[in-house]
Amino acid sequence: MKEMTLEAKIENIPRVTAFIDEQLEALDCPMKAQMQIDVAIDELFGNISHYAYAPGSGEATVGFDFDETARTVSVVFSDRGIPFDPLGRSDPDVNAPAQERDIGGLGIFLVKKTMDSLEYRFENGKNVLTIKKKI
């Protein structure tokens, strides 16, 4: 697995995206899947940046793996911040009218809908979130 460790802050999202895009481009990943994975990075690394170490700061690691047989990409986000299971919350009401719309939870919901799988575990003091997408 290729990995990158960096400070969890939103200014670093473009660095993570560039790192993953480089791997995806080497695999001739279709543009649509790449954009969906980029959105997932924005949501997930963004969440870690905002909440994992709040109000302090800390590091996060982003790993990349590719299963050639299944043509499936895995991106793994881990941090040593506050234990938080993003899959634990209920899905937002996507039928609510504009005036009652709450944007909270929409990002993770979007990731669930566009990735093939999303898995969270807390191990060795770390939040580990894995997304998988067949390309």
Partner: protein, 98 residues
Amino acid sequence: MNISKKQNGTSLEIAVEGRLDTTTAPELEEELSKSMPGAQSLILDFANLAYISSAGLRVLLAAHKAMAPKGGMKVIHVNEIVQEVFDVTGFVDILDIE
């Protein structure tokens, strides 16, 4: 992300190019908060928008609400990836997409 705007009388058209995400959404939000008060209607041209994340959706929702009592907001030239985000999140029922 690049933002360009055209004003025709009280009609404002803003073209957003690139990626509308956590890092760039605040720029669009700032532009809109400056430009919207003087506009009766708003068109967002997404012809060259690669993708949108929930941070971008938040800005769109706020703009939609701000424009609703006036001439409204319309989103045009949406690509497949952005359309899918609107579909999945139910924004397709909120926004006026052309």
